[in-house]
């Protein structure tokens, strides 16, 4: 509508392989980046804290999407890998007094190693059976953390962690932590964008679409399936570490199976097999309860009494949440991302129909 996509000729391989080949896309990304840089200065701390939660959730959702959306392997043990990352980082930070730039990759790598082990059954089983196998992984990890004081740091199974320090400043406030989390979220987004168009990403997609065919064209299924589990778990581990630093504590009770289901909901609502969809899903799942609550607080009194509203808000959220998941699966099985693409392609040629 406002721009032309034709007429841009690439004269080098680098230009051809750019993440965003069109100027309009580059400008959009630049505008979003600018908005993200300005946001914490103009927004109230409360809104910054919501963005922080979205940023952490984005990393986790991206990781799960690599596994479920791109490679087609279901996992309901995602939260357990987060706890592996969280406790690895917490132990390293507290016992050895290591800074975050060591504990964060260490947490990710440990989660990747455990994830690859939990992923071994994926070589033989698929679908529902694999879901149960990863569920077992979730429960085993939970149990282990719960029962090994050497990992969990005692009966409470929670380890207090000092907040990250950068150039001698401790990052404490939501504003400071925003930059910390934003850095890693951007890293995760750019990393995934590049991963899925690399040889590895193409292999993942081939396995998802038809694993026997993928094997026939020379993709080592064994290697790539485990790699998918490892990379996905690495993201999960990093999410766990980010949570640990954000909250100042590692606690396995926040990484239980409900959390795994939440992340699955995020990528299903957002869109399986898309980076943007993971981000949409993280935003949607984080914001929906807040939006419903705000709406009810402001307009609920028109219809209901005080005591009823208090009971209604949480229940309405559950109803709407469940209803929306069903609605998406019926109307747009490919999620918010597909919805966004439909809108975009409509306006691309607007006012013409094609």
């Amino acid at each position: 509508m406002f721009h032309r996509e034709s007429g841009y000729y690439k004269t080098s391989y680098a230009a051809d392989m750019a993440l965003y080949p069109l100027p309009v896309a580059r400008w959009t990304v630049a505008a979003i980046a600018l908005a993200m840089c300005v946001a914490p200065f103009v927004l109230h701390e409360y809104y910054v804290s919501i963005i922080n939660l979205i940023l952490v959730a984005t990393v986790g959702a991206l990781g799960l999407n690599i596994l479920v959306g791109y490679t087609g392997q279901i996992s309901i043990g995602h939260a357990a890998f987060m706890s592996v990352g969280a406790y690895t980082a917490a132990n390293l930070a507290v016992r050895l007094d290591l800074p975050f730039w060591i504990t964060l990759p260490a947490g990710g790598l440990m989660a990747a190693a455990i994830g690859a082990i939990v992923g071994i059954p994926s070589l033989r089983i698929k679908g529902l059976y694999l879901a149960i196998a990863t569920l077992a992984g979730q429960l085993i990890i939970e149990w282990t953390i719960n029962h090994v004081p050497w990992i969990s740091g005692g009966a409470q199974a929670s380890i207090e962690v000092p907040r990250p320090t950068l150039f001698g400043t401790q990052l404490k406030t939501q504003f400071q932590l925003y930059w910390f989390l934003l850095f890693f979220a951007v890293l995760a987004i750019v990393g995934t964008l590049n991963l899925v168009r690399s040889r590895i990403g193409r292999a993942f997609i081939a396995i998802r679409d038809q694993d026997i065919a993928a094997e026939i064209i020379g993709i080592n299924i064994f290697r790539y399936k485990l790699l998918a589990f490892a990379i996905s778990s690495f993201y999960a581990g990093v999410t766990g570490v980010l949570y640990t630093y954000y909250l100042g504590i590692a606690n396995y009770e926040q990484f239980q199976i409900v959390t795994s289901i939440d992340y699955l909901a995020m990528i299903i609502i957002g869109g399986l097999g898309s980076v943007l969809g993971s981000i949409f899903g993280a935003i949607f799942v984080t914001l929906l309860p807040i939006a419903i609550r705000l709406g009810m607080e402001n307009w609920g009194s028109l219809l209901f009494g005080d005591a009823d509203i208090r009971n209604l808000i949480p229940n309405l959220r559950l109803i709407l949440f469940g209803g929306l998941i069903m609605l998406f699966l019926v109307l747009e099985p490919e999620g918010l991302n597909r919805l966004w693409r439909n809108i975009r392609s409509y306006f691309r040629v607007w006012p013409f129909s094609y």
Binding site: Q156, L247, N251, E253, N315
Partner: protein, 408 residues
């Protein structure tokens, strides 16, 4: 002259109206769980909280200012709890009523950094009772350590004042909260010379046939101390009954001793004799509850149905009452209602001799003891309701103090 009077009246009105503007609401951040895994608690506890606040407001509030409890349901999820905390902070909350152990853990550091007091009655870690280590966390009710000590004291009294050579089974939910009392129980084994065996129930706690048979037919203890959550207390009652273990030799911690547990176990006739530890008075026979009923009657409404579940409802009233007491201490100390979270923190540390007609234990909170003494009361299921079987008491205070000093 007349114009002068008018002027004076105008000035007075202006002064009054500015005062009315200055007299803004005192905001409390209330976290609840009405839909998550512990919703059976939240749906009774939170209405109790609101009813007490409404009662205070109907009497004119605190120091002339109304209290507004802003409830946010976090569904027992940590990210939602973080978001709700920030929202409460934005609204200017002077204290946060935390709900849930992982949520309490997750917010402890932030509360300390922001210097806002948070209360965690029945949640969080027992070590938080130590005000030196956790200056902004107030358990305000008996921690699991105090409950464990109270349970052993109670068993000792039941068994004739001597535990030497007696056998006690500890049936617990296999999670951090379930294991937390173990150090206290082990210390008491040494001190009192009884034999203890532990029986863990794995999550979600609805399957404990093997443990119960082990208890009733192999270990044959003189008493069972149970520490279970959610659906599992009712299962434990049912199973113990099935294998023929007398329920009058079972004492449960605070989250396994509500009306809902008894009903889920098959009714009062099944659970006859079962003991439960409480940190708030149980039953409808307290003046404050009558005042709430009266308040509803004046509005032409029946008393809320949540009141029938007295265990959790009364806990909500207790939490609200302690909060209001802390706020009114802060208002008194400051002289006006523009109180800061720090004032309220100091207000908590002045709570003493506030019993609300027996619903609240005789707490004494100070800058070291944020638990207020660890008071418990034990009730027994008898003839269709909870019947008081002990007065408020605190058990083994020196032992607990020693353990708290070690940092838990």
């Amino acid at each position: 002259m007349r114009s002068f009077t008018l002027l004076l009246a105008g000035a007075a009105a202006l002064a009054l109206s500015t005062q009315a503007i200055a007299q803004k609401d005192i905001v409390i951040g209330l976290q609840c769980d009405r839909t998550g895994p512990t919703q059976t608690v939240g749906v009774f506890l939170c209405p109790g909280y609101h009813d007490y606040i409404a009662l205070v407001n109907s009497k004119g509030g605190v120091g002339g200012a109304k209290i507004r409890a802003l409830e946010i349901d976090h569904e027992y999820k940590v990210p939602s709890a973080v978001e709700s905390y920030e929202r409460h902070k934005k609204e200017g909350a002077v204290l946060i009523s935390l709900y849930g152990t992982p949520q309490t853990q997750a917010l402890t550091q932030r509360l300390t950094e922001d210097k806002i007091a948070g209360t965690s009655p029945g949640f969080g870690s027992a070590a938080a009772a130590n005000g030196d280590r956790f200056p902004y966390i107030f358990p305000i009710a008996a921690s699991y350590w105090s409950q464990a000590a109270g349970a052993v004291q109670f068993v000792k009294d039941r068994l004739g004042g001597n535990l030497k050579g007696k056998k006690i089974a500890y049936l617990y939910f296999d999670n951090p909260a379930g294991r937390e009392p173990l150090p206290v129980l082990e210390a008491l084994v040494k001190e009192e010379g009884f034999e203890m065996r532990t029986f863990a129930v794995p999550s979600p706690g609805v399957e404990m046939g093997a443990q119960v048979i082990d208890i009733a037919q192999r270990f044959k203890p003189d008493f069972v101390i149970a520490h279970l959550f959610g659906r599992s207390p009712s299962v434990s009652i049912k199973e113990l009954k099935r294998v023929g273990y007398p329920l009058s030799k079972v004492v449960s911690f605070v989250w396994g001793a509500s009306e809902a547990d008894i009903i889920a176990a098959g009714g009062w006739a099944t659970a006859e004799g079962y003991y439960g530890i409480q940190f708030a008075g149980v039953g409808g026979n307290y003046p404050v509850l009558k005042e709430i009923t009266e308040m509803y009657k004046q509005q032409g409404k029946p008393a809320p149905k949540e009141m029938a579940s007295t265990v959790f409802y009364n806990r909500g009233v207790l939490i609200a009452a302690i909060h209001v007491e802390a706020i009114s201490n802060a208002v008194k100390a400051k002289g006006n209602t523009n109180i800061t979270p720090h004032d309220v923190k100091l207000g908590f540390e002045k709570i003493k001799g506030f019993t609300l007609g027996g619903l609240v234990p005789p707490l004494e909170i100070n800058n070291v003891d944020h638990e207020g003494g660890g008071w418990v009361q034990i009730f027994q299921a008898k003839g269709g309701k909870w019947v008081k079987s002990t007065e408020w008491f605190k058990a083994y205070p020196t032992l607990l103090k020693r353990m708290l000093a070690h940092g838990g």
